[in-house]
Subunit: 389 residues, 2 copies
């Protein structure tokens, strides 16, 4: 229900702050849910883009089978929203593994793994905790980030996972993030990807390790996910908000960009530009990727105006291609190049109905847990005084 007693206008919000067009957000959520339903794909959205239980609940309500996370904190926070969580990241180190083991017992955990040491450490912890953990073997489809590079290696690691109860070998996962352009059925990149996927699936089948789950996809290819043969589930993240890059590569329309950073013009003293209070610490210093485009963000309503220079708390709007001359105090909304970074820079987001703030929510999974307990570490001297505590 909308809260119509709201008394805070867009002009009164303290800036910089991420603001989200709620109608666009709902449309983005609906569209992806419809796409998954139409193609019989299991949708497991990645929460890294929003880090917000409030939005994760919307994804589950629209039929997502669970959620994908990248960090222990994301897993812990999202455990309040969904009971089927994939940590699409190798849990390395006792601290991270113990945090997984400490999750409530009714949460089904899956993890993506590409090495034997991680499987062994995870298996030992799972045995101690008497906890089932589903394991997906991460394979490299050409991005060369993480993942095993041959079907034989994947078979060997899958066999190890199956032999280490209470781990439960469940299949494979991959991220074809190197396919930057929108792919079409005739695209050689897609055909090559399908051949590679098939090679992994067939090798696993021959070894008696047929994957129950084949999890993949990426934002640039998201609307072609159903053309990836053998895929059972996908993990899109950016689609909830979209951003300047997503629009530029054709994976959404410009009007599908739901999040912008509300900023205030703080200086027009230097001719030909306006300076806003959104710099690197609000927008991130992310380039456009896979599409042409200078600058670090684009002004809503003034697409000819880009953020061309930044410092930590300053963003420079280049006014050389516009007749628009914003005044000190004027508010602007900037669509960032990469929205997932913006989420990580703020603790709260504001939801808008049109131009009116209607709600706000905590970005609760931002950040990382305390690195040690208060009991373990105390104040310490640094020459003249004490630090910490």
């Amino acid at each position: 229900m909308d809260n119509l007693d709201r008394n805070v206008g867009l002009a009164e919000l303290s800036t910089p702050v991420p603001v989200v067009d709620l109608d666009r957000l709902a449309r983005n959520l609906d569209r992806m849910a419809d796409y998954a339903g139409a193609h019989g794909l299991r949708l497991r959205p990645h929460v890294k883009t929003h880090k917000a239980p409030a939005i994760a609940r919307q994804q589950i309500a629209r039929g997502a089978i669970g959620l994908t996370c990248a960090t222990p904190r994301e897993v812990e926070v999202m455990g309040e929203v969904a009971h089927d969580l994939l940590l699409a990241y190798p849990p390395v180190g006792a601290a991270k593994i113990e945090r997984l083991m400490a999750l409530p017992a009714d949460i089904e955990i899956a993890v993506a793994v590409d090495s034997a040491p991680v499987i062994e450490a995870l298996a030992a912890a799972a045995r101690r905790a008497d906890r089932r953990v589903r394991v997906l073997i991460e394979v490299d489809m050409g991005l060369h980030r993480v993942g095993l590079g041959t079907p034989a290696d994947a078979v060997a690691l899958a066999a190890l996972a199956r032999a280490r109860a209470p781990l439960a070998y469940a299949g494979i996962c991959f991220y074809p993030g190197h396919l930057r352009d929108p792919i079409v059925p005739a695209d050689p990149g897609l055909a090559a990807l399908n051949r590679t996927i098939a090679a992994y699936i067939h090798a696993l089948e021959r070894a008696g390790l047929a994957p129950e789950t084949v999890s993949g996809g990426s934002t640039p290819t998201v609307w072609h996910t159903h053309e990836l043969e053998g895929l059972t589930e996908f993990r899109p993240g950016t689609y909830v908000y979209n951003d300047r890059t997503t629009a530029a590569i054709g994976a959404c329309k410009w009007d599908d960009c739901a999040l912008s950073v509300l900023a205030t013009v703080v200086s027009t003293a230097v001719p030909g530009q306006a300076v806003v209070d959104a710099g690197t610490k609000a927008l991130g210093r992310e380039p456009m990727r896979g599409a042409p485009g200078e600058g670090f963000g684009q002004v809503l309503g003034h697409p000819e105006v880009l953020v061309t220079r930044m410092w930590e708390e300053h963003g420079v709007l280049d006014l050389s291609d516009t007749a628009w001359r914003p005044e000190v105090g004027e508010r602007v909304r900037i669509v960032p190049n990469h929205v997932c970074i913006v989420t990580h820079l703020f603790d709260r987001a504001v939801g808008l109905r049109g131009d009116t703030p209607a709600t706000e929510w905590p970005i609760a999974a931002r950040g990382r847990d305390p690195v040690a307990t208060a009991d373990a570490l105390g104040p310490v001297s640094v020459g003249a005084g004490a630090l910490g505590g």
Copy 2:
């Protein structure tokens, strides 16, 4: 006093996390305090680099006359540490101005301003609050970010500030961040800067507006600050930690880099590289500035190894120039290109004695306040469900 009962080792910390060599930190703090003392310069450190009251206290204990801040939150948090605070940023908008007015009465506030509307709004609020606010007129020395561009403009704005009690015109400030190389006395950039500073000071003197405070300096020029003629105070930030850029431009030695990001190797599946759990959301995507250097960070103890590719939670260590082959689970420490961004990405930092965690402190001034009160905004529907609240 060191806490010798500590029971958390470097290998047990959850990664990624910023770790600070306490001996280097103390040495950096001492060196700048000594420099200021030797040259009779007032030191007003910028807190943006550490955002931590624990470190600000160390700066004050070593003779800093006050602190410099960039955001309202930094001002609010640092009000607990010092009573003389400069907001080196125009406070635009009622929300920000009211936060300044709400500071405890015993805190002396100064602000940097480059436009009449900000002076008028600030004066109106200060009158209502019956609060003195010192005003520094921001002038542009060639960076072309903010600041007035002519002595005549500076005189006009200074006269306005003086006419608007309880505002108290106090002088000028500037940031010559365009001087990227270390300057020497014979440097034409330094000579030009001194001519420009003199032009502003003389114009203000002729108008009966002699500046009591002339505040300037930047990190690349920091050890030449005493050669800036007429300067009364300076606002260095980066010196507490330093970073890969600071070392590369010669403003510190490599061994003066006090902060690194502790990370864990999570994958070695792709030949020729190791992947760590510090990506864009831990290191920032900052280039080297004013010095050559590829990559986004450099590994302590393995200076031949750089972070050459990043995703949000992945950093790729390129191993093509080293015989070192780190294993999954191994810890590495990465010196970031720009440390002020790293501080903004974490809630806590850990202090080390040698390789042993000795303390930790909150990065309390990170982030920005809630954008609205809980009373003002409530849950709101987004199609299928409710968001916020």
